[in-house]
């Protein structure tokens, strides 16, 4: 079997196996094993794309190039480390009586299916299937957000379902419009294949594509978490189990942004006036600014970092909106480091919240005294996400700011203000949580610290040194995105 088939088959097989098996002690290990197998398949796929260049598979159903293979690897990697983190975390949740065997079964099987759906969305060549997979990814996580069955989690899941459902319905309308525009020039069932659309993009009707892009940007933008359609995001992140917060924040948002990027390439080709880019710049800036100010008002630690995710997604949208080799490169780098570091933060936050028995920041105090590693993980992760050198976020934010100074000078002060506000908000809170005296209690199971520090280590490495193959990767993807 080739790597792509394995990559897509592993999570699906995992989901079915874990669903059929029910909850046992080994279920957590099986979950991690399936994620590891997915990661290995992703690595093999990457090696193939690096060697042979982009290719289509299964007829023209799937398409792999530099842009999606990099996200595939990232998704599989974070999926695997999150599965590792979830072992001790969910064991504690079971001990606390928050998870029953039935819920654990749902959790594990949906975790695998969720990964699978994201991988389908990333590798499919068909814009219609991309939509179906995005919706399916929402459906697999919606019951996980409400898995604790508290009033707040039900509310969060309902909002998540309805808002994302409405958003993604807009995206479907956009997809239909693209199909309408392409039906004449390409014809038949090939008219939704991205490779065909991309070759014929100059022939697509600009008026239809403008409207289609507006719908697709708002639609998938809902899932990216762009302001003003971000309302579901903080709730879903705060009320679901922490491993789910980590994969939602680190992965799902990226996949949604990827969908926007794919259609932006088409719209750019058809319109030739840079309008898609301007729209993304506008939404991106608004998102960064609004999220920074919302950050200051948060009391719940997971909610705060959810807003930080919104802020960073805005920054990426802004970067890709500017376009050009440097900004696209920076956007891709930012996608990578944000996924790594934000999930590391959620891992640390998850353990901290379990020790405190609460997610309210005022209840979490003196982490360093009780467990220095979790404390340092949270501290370093926060510094990294706030753009402190030498972490990777610094490098990508620096690149985004310098290219903004060149192409959109007026936007630079806005970005700087937003980043400053976010820094003040997060740093002061994290400081209070990490230092000082403690009333926290130790946990029955040792925390999974390896994923936290692997992620932070990779984030650090990307700030100091990006391996040549990865640079080549980003360059190819950035060139494909154009500007």
């Amino acid at each position: 079997m080739d790597a792509l088939t394995l990559l897509l088959a592993m999570p699906l097989a995992g989901g079915l196996t874990l669903g059929a098996l029910g909850h046992r002690r080994v279920a957590q290990d099986i979950n991690a094993l399936f994620s590891l197998a997915t990661l290995l398949a992703a690595a093999a796929l990457t090696a193939r794309v690096m060697g042979e260049g982009p290719f289509e598979a299964w007829g023209e159903w799937f398409f792999v190039d530099a842009l999606n293979v990099f996200l595939v690897t990232l998704t599989a990697f974070v999926g695997f480390t999150t599965a590792l983190f979830s072992r001790p975390y969910m064991r504690v949740e079971c001990d606390h009586g928050k998870m029953t065997p039935g819920r654990m079964r749902l959790y594990h099987s949906m975790y695998q299916l969720f990964t699978g759906m994201m991988l389908v969305a990333l590798t499919t060549n068909n814009l219609g299937i991309l939509w179906v997979a995005m919706e399916a990814a929402t459906l697999t996580t919606v019951l996980l957000v409400s898995v604790y069955r508290t009033a707040a989690s039900l509310e969060a899941a309902w909002k998540y379902f309805i808002l994302c459902g409405v958003g993604i319905a807009q995206a479907l309308f956009g997809t239909i419009l693209i199909y309408l525009a392409a039906e004449r020039s390409i014809g038949g069932s090939d008219a939704l294949l991205w490779t065909h659309l991309s070759t014929a993009k100059a022939l697509l009707d600009p008026q239809v594509l403008t409207l289609a892009f507006v719908f697709l940007l708002i639609g998938y933008g809902t899932k990216v978490g762009l302001v003003p359609v971000h309302n579901w995001l903080p709730d879903a992140h705060a009320e679901g189990p922490t491993p789910i917060s980590a994969v939602l924040s680190g992965l799902l948002l990226n996949v949604a942004l990827y969908a926007v990027l794919r259609v932006k390439v088409l719209a750019d080709g058809a319109l030739q006036n840079g309008l898609p880019g301007h729209m993304m710049v506008g939404f991106g800036l608004l998102t960064v600014l609004a999220a920074a100010f919302f950050l200051m008002r948060q009391k719940d630690v997971k909610r705060m970092f959810a807003y930080s995710s919104i802020e960073h997604m805005g920054l990426m949208t802004f970067a890709f909106g500017m376009g050009g080799a440097v900004a696209n490169f920076a956007g891709l780098l930012h996608m990578t480091v944000h996924a790594l570091i934000k999930s590391a933060i959620f891992f640390a936050v998850g353990h901290a919240a379990q020790k405190a028995g609460s997610q309210a920041m005022e209840d979490i105090r003196g982490l360093l005294k009780l467990s220095p590693t979790v404390g340092w993980g949270l501290m370093l992760g926060s510094l990294a996400i706030l753009g402190m050198p030498p972490f990777g976020v610094f490098a990508s934010e620096f690149l985004i700011l310098t290219s903004a100074m060149q192409s959109l000078p007026w936007a630079t002060p806005v970005l700087l203000v937003a980043l400053g506000v976010a820094f003040a908000a997060i740093f002061s809170r994290v400081q209070a949580m990490v230092f000082g005296d403690t009333e926290l209690r130790p946990l029955a199971h040792p925390p999974a610290l390896l994923p936290v520090f692997i992620h932070l280590g990779l984030g650090l490495m990307l700030g100091l040194y990006i391996p040549p193959f990865q640079t080549a990767w980003y360059r190819q993807a950035a060139a494909m995105l154009g500007g």
């Binding site: 409400s146 509310e155 309902w158 419009l177 525009a181």
Partner: protein, 221 residues
């Protein structure tokens, strides 16, 4: 009038039926009647799809008409009926504020949708080109319904009715999406409605009511 033109006119008639039903749903206070209206809307969609299929000779459209029939006229209404029976909300009447204002907003939305769709409609290769505006209007009206409703079941029906509008757009403006995509969408809708059903029971269990206003606790303060 020849047969071809007659069929074209019938499609327009179906389109108008969809739109009128969308308006009727906004103004309807009884949950049971709302489900009947939704079933009717699904039926109008099936008829429209069959007509387009007959007119264009696209055989796969017959399949999508069959999927719609099974899903939106049979399965989902049955599920909804079972949900309202088990939750004992069959005879519930919702108090709606300001139906006239909502209707006026609805009319503005329809005008807006026609404006938006007008330049595109002329491009459409399909026979029923004027229908894209109606489809978009149905989507926006369902959206409006979701905003103004405070109970879970009507909100879900609004959501499903939005899906109807989108489906109609795909059938009327293009000649239907590729088969595999349609199957995927149908599957997502079915799973979605099952999950929403589960949710309604969970919400009921938690709050002893299906009022969405209970779900406004999470705010940024």
């Amino acid at each position: 009038m020849n047969a071809h033109a007659l069929l074209g006119q019938s499609i327009n008639l179906c389109a108008v039926t969809l739109l009128v039903l969308a308006f009727a749903m906004i103004a309807q206070r009884r949950i049971l009647t709302l489900i009947h209206l939704f079933t009717l809307q699904g039926l109008a969609l099936v008829v429209a799809t069959v007509l387009v299929a007959h007119l264009t000779g696209d055989h796969h459209l017959y399949f999508s008409a069959a999927i719609t029939l099974v899903l939106k006229v049979v399965l989902i209404p049955i599920l909804l009926h079972r949900v309202i029976d088990r939750l004992h909300v069959r005879w519930d009447v919702e108090t709606l504020f300001n139906i006239p204002t909502t209707m006026l907003i609805g009319i503005v939305l329809v005008v807006f949708a026609f404006q938006l769709a007008d330049p595109i409609a002329s491009l459409s290769a399909s026979i029923a080109r004027g229908t894209l505006g109606i489809a978009l209007a149905c989507v926006l009206l369902s959206f409006l319904m979701m905003i103004v409703r405070a109970k879970a079941v009507p909100q879900v029906i609004g959501f499903l009715s939005m899906e109807n509008g989108l489906f109609f757009a795909a059938t009327a403006a293009t000649s239907g999406m590729p088969m595999i995509v349609e199957l995927g969408i149908a599957f997502d809708v079915l799973v979605g409605i099952l999950i929403l059903g589960v949710f309604m029971f969970q919400i009921r269990e938690q709050f002893d009511s299906l009022d969405i206003r209970h779900l406004e606790r999470l705010k940024d303060d």
